[in-house]
């Protein structure tokens, strides 16, 4: 029961992630009325859970290597502070990402618990944030041109393009939800993995690790966020975000999902390493920022028309403010936990 109480901060973070980030995957598809919300919510929920349980371990281990929060009260403080940071920054309309908030929280815990964080891992993570946006822009640029050329060559009827785009949006939405679950579950419950008291389970002959059980619970929270609150977020965003054609939306989501996949897939990592190629670090990245990277790529595909430096500068600003706010908040919560509630945090 106490364990579940401590885990509640992670679940709150998961709910908030589901509510906010589902719009990155299905927002435009619903906004352009290509896909119904109900369909999108069901698909997103199922695939988020599958992604988290099947492929969530990579980015989670990277977070663990940055700073292994061994006390459950410490993990609770980090997740709670990250969740509150995300909530507060969203409410004040500041750009925010759970990935950046959780990193700030872990660094703050390391300082509080006087554990030396792995600075090389931190550098790797920050580098990955840059890389993810650049890769998303490049992928979107290439995909946009390829799809444009393909449509021109095969001369598909406008109505058929519409049908293919709808099916494509659902397919990339499912893929996007899978990669979102796999990549971002680390933010939600990754911090609890070292301190979990859960033991391995065998269900129908399949071994389910303690981490996978945590990922399943965390992904349920994400799914709940998608079902209960993402519609409101999508409706709000739909009114403000630049108008996009369904085809451009397909490219943006596909590019973003591929990038999320690159930063999540263990098999891809071992494939690259086995061929002595530089591997992509398995790191939790921000789906919102990757989508913005994709949109920049589509903007370049149009010859740079309509591109604005504003969103990118806001992302960069968020990289600095989010970890700092999360770190300060975590330090305060850890101090309270340690000195007022007498809980061991590290």
């Amino acid at each position: 029961m106490i364990a579940l109480l401590f885990l509640s901060s992670g679940l709150f973070l998961g709910w908030s992630l589901g509510a906010n980030d589902a719009s990155n995957i299905f927002g435009t598809a619903i906004g352009t009325r290509m896909v119904r919300f109900k369909t999108a919510a069901i698909i997103a929920s199922i695939f988020v859970i599958l992604g988290a349980v099947i492929s969530g371990s990579g980015p989670s281990q990277t977070l663990g290597r940055l700073g292994e929060v061994t006390a459950v009260a410490g993990a609770f403080s980090v997740a709670l502070s990250a969740g509150l940071t995300v909530l507060w920054m969203t409410r004040t309309k500041l750009p925010v990402s759970t990935s950046q908030a959780i990193i700030g929280g872990i660094i703050s815990w390391s300082i509080f618990a006087q554990v030396e964080p792995e600075w090389s891992i931190l550098i790797k993570i920050v580098f990955s944030w840059f890389l993810s946006i650049i890769l998303a822009a490049i992928f979107a640029l290439i995909l946009y041109h390829l799809i444009g050329k393909l449509v021109a060559i095969i001369r598909v009827h406008l109505f058929r393009i519409d049908l293919y785009t709808r099916l494509g949006l659902i397919a990339v939405g499912a893929f996007g939800a899978y990669t979102l679950g796999a990549n971002n579950i680390a933010n939600v419950v990754g911090v609890f993995v070292p301190s979990t008291e859960l033991s391995n389970l065998v269900i129908f002959g399949l071994s389910v690790s303690a981490a996978q059980q945590l990922f399943f619970i965390g992904s349920l929270a994400i799914a709940l966020g998608i079902i209960t609150y993402s519609k409101r977020v999508i409706e709000t965003i739909g009114k403000n975000v630049i108008k996009m054609t369904p085809q451009a939306a397909f490219v943006a989501v596909l590019a973003a999902s591929l990038v999320l996949f690159l930063f999540t897939s263990r098999s891809l990592e071992s494939f690259l390493l086995s061929r002595n190629l530089p591997s992509i670090p398995l790191v939790p990245i921000s789906s919102s920022q990757v989508i913005i990277g994709s949109l920049v790529g589509i903007g370049f595909a149009h010859g740079g028309r309509g591109l604005q430096a504003g969103p990118l500068l806001r992302i960069l600003g968020g990289w600095i403010t989010t970890p700092i706010i999360a770190a300060l908040m975590t330090y305060g919560v850890l101090f309270l936990m340690d000195n007022v509630f007498g809980q061991s945090v590290g």
Partner: protein, 213 residues
């Protein structure tokens, strides 16, 4: 599978609508030829055919429009496609109305104007045919639309010229002022069909640019 079937059916309806546009142009040319050659029965057959085509086009337009709205298809281009259907339908209506006008008023076309009327109807028919091709390209191959649009503009100019030449001939003749006015009226009505086809072309030019963005 159901989705694929529905889409295919809608595609075939749109193709049929465009076929009707093209066929209307040809029937119109045939009808004017028959009228000026004073082949009354044959002209009536052309008129009957045009009425059927116009009725069929109206039904198809309504079915396509309803389906596009009910199934929220092509949300980005729906407005454009609906406007395209409406303006194309205006061309088919103009063809039918002109033929009906010829049938009701039955103007006397002296032999000296016969070739000029046929020439005008021919270039109008070419404009309508090119408009149908442009419409078809818009749905399947937007890159080719521009070529058809250039031809439409060219044929429309030719139609203006043919109508002007015909009017000059009419007003230099010994016909009574009433007969001159009546022939001029029909020359203008025929030329107007090409103008309406050019209206479709102007819209298509914008819609094609929108599709490429």
């Amino acid at each position: 599978m159901q989705l694929f079937k529905k889409t295919k059916l809608l595609e075939s309806k749109m193709d049929e609508f465009i076929d009707i546009t093209s066929e209307s142009g040809m029937i119109f040319f045939e009808g004017v030829q028959r009228f000026t050659n004073k082949e009354g029965e044959k002209f009536d057959r052309s008129l009957k055919k045009i009425r059927e085509l116009e009725h069929r086009a109206d039904n198809l337009r309504r079915t396509i429009e309803t389906q596009l709205y009910l199934e929220t298809l092509i949300p980005e281009s729906r407005g454009d496609v609906l406007a395209l259907l409406e303006t194309t339908d205006v061309v088919i209506n103009a063809i039918k109305e002109t033929m009906v006008g010829l049938s009701i008023e039955d103007p006397h076309v002296p032999d000296q104007f016969k070739q000029a009327f046929i020439a005008l109807a021919k270039v109008v028919s070419k404009t309508v045919d090119e408009m149908a091709k442009a419409n078809r390209s818009f749905f399947r191959n937007p890159l080719a639309v521009r070529d058809h649009l250039n031809k439409i503009h060219h044929f429309e100019s030719e139609s203006d010229q043919a109508a002007e030449d015909l009017n000059r001939l009419i007003f230099r003749s010994d016909l009574s002022l009433g007969e001159k006015q009546q022939l001029r009226y029909f020359a203008k009505r025929i030329d107007r069909i090409a103008d309406r086809a050019e209206d479709v072309a102007d819209r298509l030019a914008i819609y094609t640019i929108k599709r490429s963005i």
